[in-house]
């Protein structure tokens, strides 16, 4: 625990307030100026209700997961926070929102002189956020209306342009902790919206028709009991026909189209028996009403249509929720960039950028478009494209790509490609295309449909012939029609989508977002599981595993590495910051260590100063640390007064003329075999310590691999890392190391997936980088994991927001459970169908019996579907993060 840790919580975000920032005279405390600013703003506008609401909704109502997780991995987008409290960024120059190009592209001018815009907000987590955003008019009086779409985290803001500029509004939103970006509606989103609307309309019409048909039917049934005037009966039957035909031709057309589409492809889907039932029932009803004879079944038919459409609607809504949540994770492109105009640089919106413009990219900013570096040296984070977090050196002449992040110093770039021509956009298009080529799955219910239809048609024929012989043609027709109607797989058609919807929701509660419900069926079977190594099986970050040698060098090493962004440096820094805190608690021990050194006088003084204060090694103001040089060949040199500290690889130390004592080499050997990195620490002319840095296996990886095996999936590691590291991990997990699965390029990954697919093995691919995207799309089930790049999110069927393998195990278990529930439903619905068909065959069926049986069967499977997956059945709670 940090020595500055206190028990006082920030009044805004509830994180602990460091000791130095506590103000005894105030009854509110803040952990940072950002929180103080937001709190003041909320208070000034009378919006304290926000805190009450936020605390009341401590479990957000299935909120979309927070912005791209950045706490654990040091290499993702510069988003605000992972805590459920909005924090402002203060980094965007929002004045580009007032630029003409921006306004032309994103702002709607309404008739009454007001303007309207859709802004995508980061940091929306719970209903308190909804409350706060919709009270924006209090904060910025020019805003007339502000409405938030929670699922898509998009606010529709209408404001008076004469009273305030858009940039003011944007800045206020940022200060409240919700940095805004212009919302882009893609073609795919528009398509989704149209489909949703159509589904809703169909559902409403089907419901209205079903309700009315039922009322009319009850009147007719009462007529059967008590007697009814023939004229009235005929009238009611005609009205029923009208209502029935509306239902069959409008919402019911979905099933006819589906059955026809399936037949054309010579595939039988569940739509076929449904279409048969609806068609036969409709035609028979039509004839019977016109001829004024026989029974009509329009009440059962319309209820059928309504229930089946409800099931599908619920399922597609759940899937869309998951898809929305995943698309919220897509990195946001920068809204503005700095372009050279004559001799200065000005901020312009990104849409106004042209090819051959010169842009300036500062440290921490993300590249707005593809280009070539004209001036400047820096390091870039290419995680978006490669999935690797190791920074790469770039200089003049090198290409940079839109979306990657500049880690070092300012660069000047000549733009070569913008918008859809950028590499990342092209990749997205390839991925989108790849997704459509995914190996199709013949769903379980569709396979059943074939046998089902066959059985039903055979029974119908048998009944028809039987009754024709035993009685008259008309009786035969009547009984056959009755059979075909009640043989409809209503229960099955309703239960499966509902079961899948519940499964998708259940997974979402465990932070597993399922974009495509077919995965449950795939995962309930067996096959091959292709796993990435770094980040999935391992922690994903370099950590200090072992330290051999002089302990007192640790703070020096931390100091030397403080400015480097190399993974080894980060690992050493992190390890020793913690260490320093412990040292400060054991002051006596430190002093003893001091005596054992033959440092020079200066250095001794500095060590004492170090121990005396509560400071972190990063505050080097009083430390006479000299030049720190980071060398290209794997090492760092730091001057401490007259002494030199060198940290680096064996090669680096030896090139500096220092002989390494053989004892260090023998200490290093076992670690090298594990594939770990070594950093030798040399003081002046002697090696004094050895640091072993590596990416450790996650604690639960072995358990997860064992369970995966138990569920009949064969795990294979496919990694871009070198053979030594892969083999080391494989051995620890009891997996057979295979040379073909190390140093794997993106093309090779895709080839491996294809290889398995053609061998008819079911393939699950787990990955995170862009180099995995094509493989993810080609596999039967593509799973993108925690920290995944944008393209792999788009390519995958499942996104897992937690690190590690255990969520995959949970998903597999959930799939098995879902498959068994679907099988249960099948048995129950077949039972009902058997009873109904027997009754129809015996000639005992009448419309009112059918009207009871159908809802009864639906209610049974519905209850089972919803309750079975929510009952506790030994599934572990979501694993804690590390």
């Amino acid at each position: 625990m940090s020595p500055t840790h206190t028990d006082v919580d920030c009044s805004h975000c509830d994180l602990p307030v460091p000791r130095g920032l506590i103000d005894e005279h105030s009854d509110t405390q803040f952990c940072c100026e950002g929180c103080r600013a937001v709190y003041t703003m909320i208070r000034d506008h009378g919006l304290e209700q926000f805190y009450r609401l936020r605390d009341a909704s401590s479990t957000p109502p299935s909120a979309p997961p927070s912005a791209p997780p950045s706490a654990q991995s040091a290499h993702t987008y510069p988003t605000s926070s992972t805590s459920p409290t909005p924090t402002p960024t203060h980094t965007q120059p929002y004045h580009v929102f007032d630029d003409e190009t921006f306004i032309a592209n994103h702002v709607d001018q309404l008739d009454n002189g007001t303007c309207r815009i859709d802004l995508r907000l980061s940091g929306i987590h719970c209903m308190a956020c909804v409350w706060l955003i919709e009270r924006l008019p209090r904060v910025v009086p020019a805003v007339i209306e502000s409405r938030l779409n929670f699922r898509q985290a998009t606010a529709r803001i209408t404001w008076d342009p004469n009273r305030a500029a858009l940039s003011t509004i944007a800045r206020s939103l940022d200060r409240l902790g919700y940095p805004p970006h212009p919302a882009k509606t893609t073609h795919a989103q528009n398509l989704h919206r149209q489909t949703e609307r159509k589904q809703l309309i169909h559902l409403a019409v089907a419901g209205a028709c079903a309700g009315n048909a039922m009322l009319l039917a009850i009147a007719l049934y009462m007529g059967l009991l008590d007697g009814i005037d023939t004229a009235h009966q005929t009238f009611l039957r005609w009205i029923s026909l009208g209502v029935g035909l509306v239902a069959l031709s409008w919402p019911g057309s979905t099933f006819f189209r589906g059955a026809w589409a399936g037949l054309r492809l010579r595939a039988v889907t569940l739509d076929l028996p449904i279409a048969i039932a609806l068609g036969v029932g409709g035609i028979a009803g039509l004839i019977n009403v016109i001829a004024n004879r026989g029974d009509i079944y329009f009440d059962s038919l319309t209820i059928l249509i309504f229930l089946l459409l409800t099931g599908r609607f619920v399922q597609s809504r759940q899937q869309r929720h998951a898809q929305d949540a995943v698309s919220l994770m897509h990195g946001l492109t920068p809204i503005n960039c700095r372009v050279r105009k004559q001799n200065t640089f000005i901020d312009i919106p990104i849409e106004a950028l042209h090819v051959n413009d010169e842009i300036q990219l500062r440290s921490g900013e993300r590249v707005p478009a593809d280009g070539t570096i004209i001036d400047g040296q820096s390091t870039m984070n290419h995680a978006l494209l490669t999935g690797e977090s190791t920074p790469t050196q770039v200089g003049p002449g090198d290409h940079v790509y839109a979306g990657t992040q500049n880690l070092g110093s300012t660069l000047h770039i000549r733009v070569t490609a913008i918008a859809h021509d950028t590499r990342i956009q092209r990749l997205m298009e390839i991925v989108a295309h790849g997704v459509t080529q995914k190996p199709a799955i013949v769903r379980f219910t569709d396979r059943i449909a074939g046998w089902f239809t066959l059985t039903v048609v055979t029974s119908a024929l048998a009944v028809f012939i039987g009754w024709w012989i035993a009685d008259s043609l008309t009786t035969a027709i009547d009984h056959t029609v009755a059979l075909l109607i009640v043989a409809c797989p209503c229960a099955l058609g309703l239960a499966t989508p509902l079961t899948l919807a519940v499964a998708v929701a259940s997974a979402a509660r465990r932070d597993i977002l399922v974009k495509n419900a077919d995965v449950f069926e795939n995962l309930a079977k067996h096959g091959t599981l292709l796993l990435d190594k770094t980040g999935t099986l391992t922690q994903g970050q370099m950590r200090l595993i072992a330290w051999h040698g002089d302990e007192s060098f640790k703070p020096l090493v931390a100091l030397a590495e403080q400015h480097s962004s190399h993974p080894v440096a980060i690992a050493l820094r992190t390890a020793f910051q913690n260490h320093n805190q412990n040292q400060n608690h054991n002051q006596n021990q430190n002093h003893n260590h001091n005596q054992n050194h033959n440092h020079n006088h200066n250095h001794n003084q500095n060590q004492n100063q170090n121990q005396d204060q509560d400071h972190q090694p990063t505050s080097s103001a009083r430390f006479p640390i000299g030049q720190t040089t980071e060398h290209g060949d794997g090492g760092i040199t730091t001057q401490f007064g007259h002494d030199v500290l060198r940290i680096g690889s064996q090669f680096f130390i030896q090139s500096a003329g220092i002989t390494i004592n053989p004892k260090w080499i023998s200490l290093a050997k076992p670690h090298q075999n594990h594939g770990h990195s070594l950093a030798f620490v040399a003081w002046n002319h002697d090696v004094r310590a050895l640091a072993v840095i590596g990416d450790e296996l996650r604690p639960d990886s072995l358990n997860a691999i064992t369970q995966i095996r138990q569920h009949h999936w064969k795990p294979i590691i496919v990694s871009g890392d070198h053979l030594g590291a892969v083999n080391a991990v494989a051995r620890q997990l009891n997996l057979t190391p295979s040379p073909s699965t190390a140093n794997v390029s993106p093309e090779k990954k895709l080839a491996i997936v294809h290889q398995h697919v053609t061998q008819n093995h079911r393939v699950i691919m787990v990955g995170d980088g862009v180099n995995d995207a094509a493989a993810l799309a080609a596999a039967h089930v593509g799973i993108a994991v925690h920290g995944g790049a944008e393209t792999s999110l788009a390519a995958a069927d499942v996104y897992i927001a937690q690190p590690g393998l255990m969520p995959i195990v949970q998903l597999i278990k959930l799939s098995h459970k879902t498959a068994s529930v679907i099988r249960q439903n099948l048995i129950i619905s077949l039972g009902y169908n058997a009873i109904a068909i027997s009754l129809a065959a015996a000639g005992l069926l009448s419309p009112w019996i059918a009207a009871i049986l159908m809802p009864l069967s639906s209610a049974t499977v519905l209850t089972l579907a919803v309750t079975s997956l929510t009952r506790k059945h030994g599934m572990s709670c979501p694993s804690s993060t590390y």
């Binding site: 609401l53 209903m127 909804v130 938030l148 008076d160 609307r197 005037d229």
Partner: protein, 58 residues
């Protein structure tokens, strides 16, 4: 009972009008977001009426 010859067609016409109203609302996008209204309905109303156009400061 022959009143049903009038009442039932009347009821159907009313249902049709309601349906047209529903279709209009859907096309205007009022049903696009079915998740935020439930959240909004739980939130309490503000104590004072707040007029955004005429109320300059609190």
């Amino acid at each position: 009972m022959s009143i049903i010859y009038l009442l039932i067609p009347l009821a159907i016409i009313l249902a049709a009008v309601a349906l047209i109203g529903f279709l209009w609302a859907v096309h205007r996008g009022q049903f696009d977001d079915l998740d935020t209204p439930p959240i909004r309905s739980i939130l309490d109303d503000d104590d004072e009426k707040y007029d955004p156009i005429h109320n300059d400061e609190k």
